[in-house]
């Protein structure tokens, strides 16, 4: 909806319709997230970055596909272009700023084609966002994913020292926590209105 205000887009993507907790995107890395807070934070940064890159790519591709009237190439070109752009950006960062590369770089290849990234590209296209809206959407989604992961990492860290019963250890526990976080985020319902 091109009329949505930027603020609404941001709040929705990051809080109300959090990509992880409400849209179920990027669940595997979310569940697999290590309990190291620092890793979670930096990974969140990397995800946000890749989201921005892919958002811009997807916007460009969509313009092109409409121009040549080939909607059936959408999926293939999104995947291909996003993956290779991230690869290029990675090489660029490696050259320009080794420090930044060390902070983000190792995560980049792992993130390139997870569902949150592709989902973002598809959603923004379906919604017909303008360029600026796309950027804000990517930032909001990235912030939401980062927040979910950081919260998860903190809770896991705490639970590492708890006497968790054997049956609930592992993924089942992570899912329960995710469910409770999701319930918690329901409190923000209606905020974007």
């Amino acid at each position: 909806m091109p009329s949505e205000s930027l603020w609404t887009i941001f709040i929705n993507a990051s809080l109300v319709n959090n990509f992880v907790l409400a849209y179920f995107l990027g669940i595997c890395p979310f569940l697999g997230v290590s309990s190291k807070l620092e890793t979670a934070t930096r990974m969140g940064g990397a995800v946000t970055f890749v989201m921005l890159v892919s958002s811009v790519c997807a916007f460009g591709i969509q313009l092109l596909l409409v121009a040549i009237d080939a909607p059936y190439l959408k999926l293939i070109s999104f995947i291909a272009v996003i993956a290779s752009t991230v690869q290029l950006v990675e090489m660029f960062i490696k050259k320009v700023s080794p420090a930044l590369f060390r902070a983000l770089g190792i995560f980049l290849p792992l993130i390139t084609t997870n569902c949150a990234i592709l989902g973002l590209a598809l959603f923004q296209t379906n919604k017909g966002y303008s360029f600026v809206q796309c950027i804000v959407y990517a930032l909001g989604a990235g912030a939401g994913v980062t927040r979910a992961r950081v919260l998860m990492a903190g809770l896991r860290e705490k639970l590492e020292l708890a006497e968790v019963p054997d049956v609930t250890k592992g993924t089942a526990m992570a899912l329960m926590i995710a469910g409770l976080l999701s319930v918690t985020f329901m409190g923000f319902g209606g905020l974007g209105g």
């Binding site: 595997c28 291909a80 084609t113 569902c115 990234i117 592709l118 993924t171 999701s182």
Partner: protein, 220 residues
């Protein structure tokens, strides 16, 4: 001949239970959670994924000697994306309502690690026949798991199964089950059940061992 057919049956069986992609390997969680709010959606998604899985397994295993290692991932993605696009159009043609319910998650089958994982880990190293069995097993196992989730969520969340009302009119829906959090809770509950069964089996095995040991000692 008998041996091969037997082992490809095994390839088929393992995906259903012992290596179930959802309950045991915990792969491809996003579609599992996102579209399992009704049994119908879950089954449709499961079948769509199974279709892509089988087709890409066939394609990858038959091309396995043709594709150089360096470009294999790129090629696999190309193949998978193709089949996903096909499925996407087919579902749109079959029912717009279903398409709307499954939303972007049909397209997201592309990045489901289950499919790329099987392509890379199995199909690229095995014959077409065995890859088909593997794809069938994994695909049906995936669809079955999705159905398990969808059924529980629909029964509790809407009081129905495949849209058919199961209880009396006044049944109180558990809205949470069709909300995102319900997806997490239901899958967690299934995993708890699996864990519990697994641990019970282990404990039993251990106590059996212990008794045999004790018996053995007595005998000595």
């Amino acid at each position: 001949m008998a041996a091969t057919s037997k082992s490809s049956t095994d390839e088929f069986i393992k995906g259903l239970w012992k290596e179930n992609p959802v309950f045991v390997q915990v792969l491809g969680m996003c579609p599992v959670l996102a579209v399992s709010n009704t049994a119908m959606n879950a089954l449709a998604m499961g079948l769509a994924t199974a279709f892509v899985l089988i087709m890409s397994n066939i394609a990858v295993s038959s091309l396995r000697n043709f594709i150089p290692k360096q470009v294999r991932i790129a090629t696999y993605i190309l193949i998978i994306a193709t089949f996903v696009t096909v499925v996407d159009y087919v579902i749109q043609a079959v029912s717009l309502d279903l398409y709307k319910a499954l939303g972007a998650f049909i397209s997201l089958i592309v990045v489901n690690c289950l499919i790329l994982g099987r392509a890379e880990a199995f199909a690229s190293k095995n014959t077409v026949a065995r890859s088909v069995m593997d794809g069938l097993g994994m695909g049906i196992g995936f669809a079955f798991a999705l159905f398990c989730l969808g059924a529980v969520r629909e029964i509790l969340g809407s009081g129905s199964l495949f849209g058919a009302q199961l209880f009396h009119d006044a049944f109180q829906d558990w809205v949470v089950m069709i909300l995102p959090s319900g997806g997490f809770f239901t899958l967690a509950a299934w995993l708890l059940l699996f864990n519990w069964l697994e641990q019970r089996k282990e404990r039993k095995a251990k106590s059996d061992e212990a008794t045999t040991l004790a018996l053995g000692k007595e005998a000595v």
